[in-house]
């Protein structure tokens, strides 16, 4: 038995991405997590907060407190950090379109507590560019969004110097299907776009610019192919070092270090045999800690049951313990970089770098990342990669244990409990938050609020840095919805420029051709029987912007012959029912990942009934616990698809049968 060596490296920051129901409930959870040895906080905000709406906005219905904590004003922020010393905490906020606002609330709260903002440390995700590609919680068009990012950077570099104002996210690119090369290329292109924008603002003197470069950090994903993922992170480090020297002339190598935080892959977590996710998560973590030169600064691990619903405190504790075992029990932190000198690793790293360089040149030739997003190029590439992955799972080329092989399983004692092994958010949370918000509006000084909002509008119009006026708003008691609306009036709202008119080479992405051919015949013959081609409406009600699933279903349905109206994200139930009516569709497909499926689906069904469209079948896809799926079916939903339904051909086959039954036609026999 050898005692651990004394000169161990410091472990990374350990966090758990959490927040739900209310500021009060989340604060209690945070304090428990810190007591268990967590060393930083990672705040999950609910969708109204992320998209700049108050809890009582009609669009917020059903979403308050669901995927995170609702923060409507400074009193909520105060409650969230009750008994947590801001100057000693490292707080990461997953917030993007409203990042400048949440940071203002945090700074405003520090000022109110008499804490110098220079002592605050933490991170705002604040990468709005990837929101257009993946997460979907954008509000404003790319121009003003870039400006908001640049404003927070120039402000924090001067006034909150320990803060990481933006976390360039390759994480969500991988969730949207990106290969390691695409992840490298698009993340670095995004960082360049941000830095170029800050440089062009003229607010930073040339000799201070290296400090700006130093404050840029990254938020990275790590998948199950952990050797390649480890090489990806080494490649990131080398490329960032090279790029910051060549393009931004940063002489000090310390300021050129690639600093990143990690949440390991959620895409690869499975609903069948969910206990296998534990070893997946541990192996994925290995990729980001193994190589000292490319080790993560902060790690948050998902819980084993994420594909089933919201994790409970015990599930989060298990995820934290994985990190602690790795950091404190193993000998990993006692060594220098154990991969240096390996020719295999070096070759893989070079291969990734070369591929990424080519793709960066390609994007730069198109005018940079913003132009490549606006033209739809990047989205097309990502959807293409993702469809290839799905095809490989369908064909069995990509093995996923318990999903497309080794499916046999004994009954799991983990999922047998009465709670279905997931947490339920407080159903009264929305009402309570609204009451709290309305009481707050009455208690504040209306004149101060009006003046602060006018200052915000003026700054937005004049081009002055948005942060000072936002902090003034925070202290005056302005609400998240008021801040969001004031800027909406000046900046306008972003509308996706191209929807998903993706021209993919169908042969490449269709999966098994024989099945697809059969499916096309079924879609065509069913269309003939009802008199016109089958038409499908796909849309996402509520505020959840994770559109990858909805897009894949839309593209696949198109490929098997449906005429698909893709109506996008952030729709009210009324808008969906109206679209179903105007478009004369044979089926409505709803995708909801935020956990608000019960409220939203019920409203959509009701709106359809109001329009005499009760006979139009509705199907639902998303993270829906089994118990809820049964309730939805009882309400009249014809099918519920969850992450375990990975085979798109099977879903298409089922959809055709649902339409057939709704039109008095016989079901067709299974294709398998």
């Amino acid at each position: 038995m050898v005692a651990a060596r004394k000169n161990r490296d410091q472990p990374w920051l350990m966090r758990t991405y959490s927040g739900h129901s209310s500021a009060k409930a989340s604060n209690a959870l945070y304090r428990t997590n810190l007591a268990k040895g967590q060393t930083g906080l990672s705040v999950a905000f609910d969708l109204p907060t992320q998209t700049g709406y108050d809890a009582d906005s009609p669009l917020a219905r059903g979403e308050v407190g669901k995927v995170g904590v609702p923060i409507s004003h400074i009193e909520d922020m105060d409650q969230l950090f009750d008994q947590i010393p801001l100057d000693q905490m490292n707080t990461s906020m997953t917030i993007n379109a409203t990042a400048a606002w949440l940071l203002s609330l945090y700074i405003g709260l520090a000022q109110r507590r008499g804490i110098d903002p220079k002592k605050l440390s933490g991170t705002t995700q604040n990468d709005i560019i990837k929101e257009y590609l993946s997460r979907g919680t954008y509000i404003y068009p790319p121009g003003p969004s870039m400006r908001l990012i640049a404003d927070t950077i120039t402000y924090t570099v001067k006034h909150v110097p320990k803060w990481n104002p933006t976390n360039v996210c390759s994480y969500h690119l991988q969730e949207a299907g990106a290969s390691p090369v695409q992840e490298l290329a698009y993340a670095l292109c995004t960082a360049m776009a941000v830095l170029d924008r800050v440089k062009a603002s003229g607010e930073i003197k040339p000799d201070e610019f290296p400090q700006v470069v130093e404050r840029i950090s990254f938020f990275v994903n790590a998948g199950i192919r952990f050797v390649e993922e480890c090489c990806k992170l080494r490649a990131f480090g080398e490329m960032w070092d090279e790029l910051t020297l060549a393009r931004y002339k940063v002489e000090d190598p310390k300021l050129r270090r690639f600093r990143y935080g990690v949440q390991v892959n959620s895409l690869g977590l499975t609903e069948p045999q969910p206990e296998n996710n534990v070893q997946r998560i541990v192996l994925e973590m290995l990729a980001v800690v193994l190589s000292k030169r490319a080790r993560a600064r902060a790690i948050q691990l998902p819980a084993w049951n994420e594909a089933m619903g919201l994790p409970r405190p015990w599930d989060q504790q298990w995820a934290l313990r994985m990190q602690q075992v790795m950091a404190f029990e193993t000998d990993l932190l006692e060594y220098a970089d154990i991969l240096d000198g390996s020719p295999v690793i070096a070759a893989k790293v070079s291969e990734l770098i070369e591929g990424a360089r080519r793709e960066i040149e390609n994007v730069e030739a198109q005018g940079g990342i913003i132009a490549a997003i606006e033209s739809g190029y990047i989205k097309r590439e990502l959807v293409g990669s993702h469809m290839n992955r799905l095809r490989a799972i369908e064909s069995g080329d990509l093995k996923i244990i318990g999903v497309n092989c080794f499916q046999e399983t004994a009954e799991s004692p983990l999922t047998g409990g009465s709670d279905g092994a997931i947490m339920k958010t407080n159903p009264a949370a929305e009402r309570e938050q609204i009451e709290r918000l309305q009481a707050h509006r009455k208690s504040r000084n209306g004149d101060e609020v009006g003046a602060a909002l006018q200052g915000l509008t003026d700054a937005a119009k004049s081009g002055d840095n948005i942060m000072p006026s936002s902090i003034r708003c925070a202290v005056a008691g302005v609400t998240t919805g008021e801040w969001g609306d004031s800027l909406r009036k000046v900046f306008g709202e972003f509308r996706p420029p191209t929807g998903i008119d993706i021209a993919i080479d169908s042969r490449e992405v269709l999966g098994k051709r024989d099945q697809v051919t059969d499916l096309r015949a079924r879609v065509a013959s069913t269309g003939n029987a009802v008199g016109r081609p089958l038409k499908l409406l796909v849309g996402k009600p509520g505020l959840d912007g994770h559109s990858n699933g909805a897009e894949q279903v839309a593209v696949k349905a198109r490929d098997v012959g449906f005429e698909v109206v893709y109506d996008g994200i952030r729709l009210t139930p009324q808008q969906i029912a109206q679209a179903a009516q105007e478009e004369g569709v044979h089926m409505v497909g709803l995708s909801i990942l935020s956990g608000s499926h019960m409220e939203l689906v019920e409203s959509v069904l009701q709106e359809l009934r109001l329009r005499d469209l009760a006979n139009v079948p509705v199907i639902v896809g998303g993270i829906v616990p089994r118990e809820d799926a049964e309730k939805l079916t009882a309400l009249g939903v014809k099918a519920v698809y969850t992450p375990k339904d990975f085979n798109l051909n099977a879903i298409m086959e089922d959809m055709v049968n649902v339409i057939r039954e709704s039109n008095g036609l016989a079901r067709l026999a299974s294709l398998h």
Partner: protein
């Protein structure tokens, strides 16, 4: 047997004329339906809608241009103006279908680009796939636009034009607008192709690009006024930016001005009668080929028939169709009579 609930066409027509949205939607579904009984009812619906309606009502507007020119954003900006002035708008947005051997499906993404984020009872959008018809505009579009014009002040038909096949849109809109993309080869192609004859109004979008937009505008201006064009119309070329919302108001005014020009010159009803006839001929030709047209005497005789019943050519169409079908029956085996009706789906399953 499928339980297809087909509405009573005469009742439906009166509900449509009252502006009931559900009836409008049901009417469009009926016009799209290829079942034999649906076709009969469609003809009755169109007849009922045509009955007593002036051919001088409303305004049918065609908007075309190359992919990526920003047609949908521009249409959205135009809709804002019309709605601000209290006029109601119906939109038919046509997107391409994939090739039949690739399943013939379509992703219809215009709705997401055109609609407002707020609920609006004065706006109705129906997306359509072009279903691989050569001209680019689905055969269903003409009767559908006619139906929409029965209850909306403005009807906009938006199609993708690739530069050489927009002939069809000329057979639909009272006013045709071409949206050009600055510094794009598509526009040059377009100018060369001679289809420059068709549009009445030109918009060069993305004028915030500056010089390239002005260059494209001047190229169009040089080509647009040709000797064989209609007299007294000036074929305006407008610099606009849908995303920056610049130049929209002056551009928008040309639509009303063009409609007034057509009405004052007595051209509006003539144009629409001509469009209806072209639609009938195209439909018959699509279904029966040149041989079918010859069976009932060819273009000359068809024109004569249509001339007899100028205000309700849908009825005339169905009469001629049945006539050709009966001639086919006597010439051909019954089984090969038509590809449009699918009484039996079992064969393909």
């Amino acid at each position: 047997m499928p339980q297809v609930h087909l509405p009573d066409p005469e009742q439906l027509a009166s509900r449509i004329l009252r502006g009931e949205r559900a009836a409008v939607a049901a009417g469009l579904n009926l016009l799209d339906n290829k079942l034999a009984e649906a076709r009969n009812r469609s003809t009755r619906l169109l007849a009922a809608l045509a009955d007593g309606r002036s051919l001088n009502d409303g305004h049918l507007i065609g908007v075309t241009g190359p992919p990526g020119a920003g047609k949908s954003s521009l249409v959205a900006a135009m809709i804002r103006e019309w709605r601000l002035s209290g006029r109601t708008v119906g939109v038919l947005a046509v997107d391409p279908s994939s090739r039949p051997e690739l399943g013939g499906g379509a992703l219809l993404g215009d709705r997401i680009r055109i609609k407002n984020s707020s609920h609006d009872e004065g706006l109705f959008i129906r997306s359509l796939a072009n279903r691989n018809q050569l001209g680019g505009v689905a055969i269903e579009v003409w009767p559908m636009s006619w139906l929409l014009s029965a209850c909306f002040d403005i009807v906009v038909i938006e199609t993708v034009g690739v530069g050489q096949t927009e002939i069809d849109i000329a057979e639909i809109g009272d006013t045709v607008c071409y949206v050009a993309q600055p510094a794009s080869g598509d526009t040059i192609q377009y100018l060369k192709s001679g289809i420059i004859e068709i549009p009445d109004i030109f918009a060069v979008n993305k004028c915030d690009l500056g010089a390239p937009a002005r260059k494209t505008a001047s190229e169009i201006s040089r080509s647009a006024p040709r000797q064989d064009r209609r007299d007294d119309w000036d074929y305006p070329v407008c610099l606009v930016s849908a995303t920056m919302n610049t130049g929209i108001t002056p551009f928008h005014k040309h639509f009303d001005r063009h409609r007034k020009f057509l009405a004052d010159a007595g051209l509006l009803d003539k144009l629409r009668i001509r469009h209806q006839s072209a639609w009938v001929v195209r439909l018959l030709k699509e279904e029966f080929g040149t041989f079918g047209l010859e069976l009932i005497g060819g273009h000359a005789v068809i024109g004569e028939h249509l001339g007899k019943n100028q205000y309700n050519q849908f009825e005339e169409y169905e009469r001629m169709r049945k006539h050709i079908l009966s001639r086919f029956m006597s010439v051909n085996q019954p089984s090969s009579s038509t590809k449009k009706e699918h009484p039996d789906e079992q064969a393909t399953v």
